[in-house]
Subunit: 301 residues, 2 copies
């Protein structure tokens, strides 16, 4: 398995969006700068969504403009044409759209069926294609849904294939509530890999039940080589407040490096970025690696 | 992989031994009772070591006597002949001895070489054999040592083979400081499995860097089917105070059940046992599953 893996750092968006405390635009820009400097060149930096609904993502245009001089690939979430236009005004070159693998989550999250949600962002994909903008497709609830429970792999395959056919360069498979376990994760990657090339798939796992690294390892056995993660394990789970959020970038990097896979990440710099944001949020990072390294530092000092 | 896995619950010994706050004999007996009731029939309940050196294990004879009427298999740690005699006076039927895979850890921990430590417990093993007492062998630092760094798999193979030849029915391979990663864990199980049958191996992993479940999954791919874990992830790491301890039984059970492996564990009862001890220790459990389930309960109430 000692080949390359690409990490998409989603802390500044998927992470912070699910934290209670909003972080200022200036602090979010500084966070992205630190992440880039730590060796994470692909960062999801914001979302062009309603600031009323998601105050944490307010000022995403400023964040995107504020980091545009840095060497990196910056992703922003775009829910509709209005968001697309705002993203383009801010200079976005990579956008992300999202659909759900489960009807229950689609209804609860965006108040429409899965098929309707895909119809909604077709114009976004058409415009992005015309404008030469790369589009990443997120699928949520791929290993379980807080409303529907079990999700059939075939439902994920169908949405993934549709997004890929519509032009998404990468399909990020999200275990939104972290209920997946390794055999199921591997079987899902195999199933989706039968319809979309594994090279175009990403794993976006949450660590709610501590399964994320095992699931990533299992998914890698099926050849998936792109991993979404958030510095410090930022982001909670709206369906279990107080639970762990995204798999922590530190923990992923530790595993990959231990597997002989070079990530190019400077762990010390990443830890500093994580600790900075944790201080702003007023709580310690939930990453196991960050906890262990911080404990070691404390002991040494 | 949907066959049987056996869990050895080490919370009352390896867990509590590494917690700062000592727990009373009565509370430890109650803890073991709850674990048995939760469906964990194999529990490590104490250690016949110096109460001065390890005050947390004081009264292990009383704990063992206090649970002897319960249906279960109770393990106690025994470092030498004196400990063996004390364990027999208390009615122990399964004892555990320990050696290190690394010279540095052996020196620091028990002030002798690995070879000397094996010589030391040879009389214990001889007496146990004569007395019809089962002996489990622990090997520490199998995936890394806080003093020597990397540990050669061959060093682990040698100690494992020696313990097995001396009559240990099971060799528990301990990643004492939690630095292992899945490819190395799998390779180690393959290497040791070449000298000792996989059926006689156990994985004893710590979650210091969040890698334990991934490592267990990887080790299971080599056929190892016995897992040591501690309720609530009890136990810290003396080399990184504040870091995570043993892999949490809840997290292991969640993974196994998700893999279609029936554990027989009642998660609700296990969570209650964990929360009870966490309250005595004055801190929340570090198990991800326990955190998520507690968060859900809090929200529902």
């Amino acid at each position: 398995m000692s080949d390359r893996v690409s990490i998409i750092e989603v802390g500044p968006r998927d992470g912070l969006q699910n934290e209670k405390t909003p972080i200022s635009v200036a602090d979010r820009i500084a966070f992205v700068e630190r992440l880039i400097d730590a060796g994470l060149p692909k960062v999801e930096v914001g979302a062009f969504v309603s600031p009323k609904a998601v105050p944490q993502m307010m000022g995403s245009a400023e964040v995107l403009r504020g980091v545009s001089h840095l060497r990196g690939e910056f992703h922003v979430l775009v829910p509709n044409e209005k968001g697309y236009e705002a993203s383009q005004a801010a200079g976005a070159k990579v956008i992300a759209v999202f659909a759900s693998a489960s009807e229950g989550f689609s209804r609860a999250n965006i108040n429409c069926s899965v098929a309707e949600s895909i119809e909604r962002f077709k114009p976004v994909l058409a415009r992005a294609k015309a404008d030469g903008i790369k589009v990443r497709g997120y699928i949520s609830c791929v290993l379980g849904c807080p409303f529907d429970g079990e999700v059939e792999p075939q439902a994920v395959v169908n949405v993934a294939r549709t997004l890929f056919d519509l032009g998404c360069y990468e399909i990020s498979l999200g275990d939104t509530i972290g209920v997946g376990t390794p055999v199921k994760a591997r079987e899902l990657m195999r199933a989706v890999g039968g319809s979309v090339p594994a090279a175009n798939l990403a794993m976006h796992f949450h660590d709610t039940y501590g399964q994320a690294l095992a699931n990533l390892y299992a998914g890698m056995e099926e050849g998936v080589r792109v991993i979404d993660s958030a510095a410090g394990g930022l982001g909670g789970c709206p369906y279990a407040p107080g639970a762990t959020g995204n798999v922590a970038t530190e923990d992923v990097v530790y595993m990959l490096e231990g597997m002989g896979i070079r990530t190019g990440v400077d762990m010390e710099k990443l830890l500093a970025a994580t600790n900075e944001v944790a201080a702003l949020l007023g709580r310690p990072p939930v990453s196991r690696v960050a906890s262990a390294l911080n404990a070691k530092k404390k002991r040494a000092s």
